[in-house]
């Protein structure tokens, strides 16, 4: 079962990295813990839902920021929503960008907002890639007859 051990080791290391680098936090652990026999795909479902919502919100923010007369309250409400859902899901980096984003909205700073929006996009892409890699490892472990190591 050498390959299984390797995969499990990879999984543990990769997970540790994601936490260390602040891509995910304790809320993500909670989401993982909520998965059980009655909802075996819970994590994947929540994550997919999050990225769907994130993309919609990002588009809305971009549109609002393109206007001649930017409605910062609108932008702020989108950011607020993204902050809430990224927080629930444990997408720590995205949540942190949202915190900075909110201050720029309050200051009605268009440049600052646009920079934050760019950062949100960047973090979004990175997190997607990372989580896809994580889920792939999980599938491979299960396919090799093993169980997914639990994070403490």
């Amino acid at each position: 079962m050498d390959i299984l051990n390797q995969l499990q080791r990879q999984y543990t290391d990769f997970t540790a990295l994601l936490y260390r680098e602040g891509f995910v936090d304790d809320n993500f652990t909670q989401v993982q813990k909520l998965q059980d026999e009655s909802s075996p795909d819970f994590v994947v479902e929540v994550v997919s839902l999050f990225f769907e919502d994130c993309e919609k919100l990002v588009n809305n923010m971009a549109e609002a920021l393109e206007q001649q007369d930017v409605d910062f309250k609108q932008v702020d409400s989108h950011v607020h929503q993204l902050k809430g859902s990224s927080s629930s899901m444990g997408a720590a980096r995205i949540k942190n960008v949202c915190i900075a984003f909110k201050t720029f909205c309050e200051a009605q700073n268009r440049e600052g907002c646009l920079r934050c929006l760019q950062q949100v996009n960047h973090e979004n892409t990175q997190l997607k890639t990372n989580l896809q890699a994580l889920f792939t490892l999980e599938r491979q472990i299960v396919a090799n007859g093993g169980s997914i190591p639990v994070m403490q």
């Binding site: 304790d26 809320n27 909670q30 989401v31 813990k33 909520l34 059980d36 909802s39 819970f42 479902e45 929540v46 839902l49 999050f50 769907e52 919502d53 409400s77 607020h80 929503q81 902050k83 809430g84 859902s85 927080s87 629930s88 899901m89």
Partner: protein, 242 residues
């Protein structure tokens, strides 16, 4: 004597029959009294005069789709009273609220949450999904809605009997404060229990929530232990008050 049987009616009902004995000098004798005319003739049961309070009871019982009647001794005196009431069978969430809560290490093994009917109102997809799952993990039966108005219509629907409302304060069209105000105004001062969920770190949020008639507050992001602790506290207070 108490007898219980399932009627032929659809499965959702059960009939309970109470048989009571009226003994000499008992307080039930003034409920129904038989009349004797001066000649002491045996009276026919149709001429038993019913006390006013008894006919009131009879009226109430019949409105409840039950029945009540006096049984007579051979001499025409009231010797017993039978009461039949029909009850609709509901899931036993009521027991879950009032059974003694035992604190345990793991929140998800707490019996007092089992079967608890909860309505969750949160406009955000991800939050709704995670919080719903969290509450289900604790044993609750959750109905999730995405707005304040959906929450209010779910509460006013006769079939639904919710013990607890978990309410996101920052919803766009109707915020949690307004929902809570309406619930307290049009439903009841005490029921259902309302727990607010807020991202706000302001100190006076708690006060404001209490003034609106809410029973508890949880800070976002919601964690399992935090939810379990606050729900336990809220249920404990409710038990003490009722």
């Amino acid at each position: 004597m108490l007898g219980m049987w399932k009627s032929n009616a659809p499965d959702e009902f059960v009939c309970i029959k109470f048989d009571m004995e009226i003994s000499e000098g008992s307080s039930l004798s003034d409920v129904a009294s038989s009349t004797t005319n001066s000649s002491g003739r045996r009276q026919n049961s149709a001429e038993v005069k019913e006390g006013q309070s008894f006919s009131m009871c009879k009226r109430l019982v019949q409105m409840m789709q039950g029945n009540i009647w006096i049984s007579l001794s051979p001499l025409g005196f009231a010797q017993g009273m039978t009461l039949v009431l029909r009850f609709q069978i509901h899931p036993s969430y009521g027991r879950a609220v009032f059974s003694p809560g035992t604190s345990s290490e793991q929140p998800n093994s707490n019996p007092q949450f089992r079967g608890l009917h909860v309505i969750l109102a949160d406009d955000d997809h991800v939050n709704r999904m995670v919080t719903k799952k969290l509450l289900e993990k604790l044993g609750c039966e959750v109905t999730a809605v995405s707005s304040g108005s959906e929450c209010l219509s779910a509460l006013s629907s006769a079939e639904n009997s919710f013990i607890l409302v978990v309410l996101d304060l920052q919803m766009p069209e109707m915020d949690g404060f307004e929902v809570a105000t309406r619930i307290r105004k049009f439903r009841s001062r005490n029921w259902p229990l309302i727990v607010a969920v807020t991202a706000s770190a302001e100190d006076n949020v708690w006060e404001r929530c209490l003034r609106m008639g809410m029973n508890g507050v949880i800070r976002k992001p919601v964690l399992l232990q935090g939810m379990a602790d606050e729900l336990q506290r809220v249920l404990q207070r409710a038990r003490e008050q009722f």
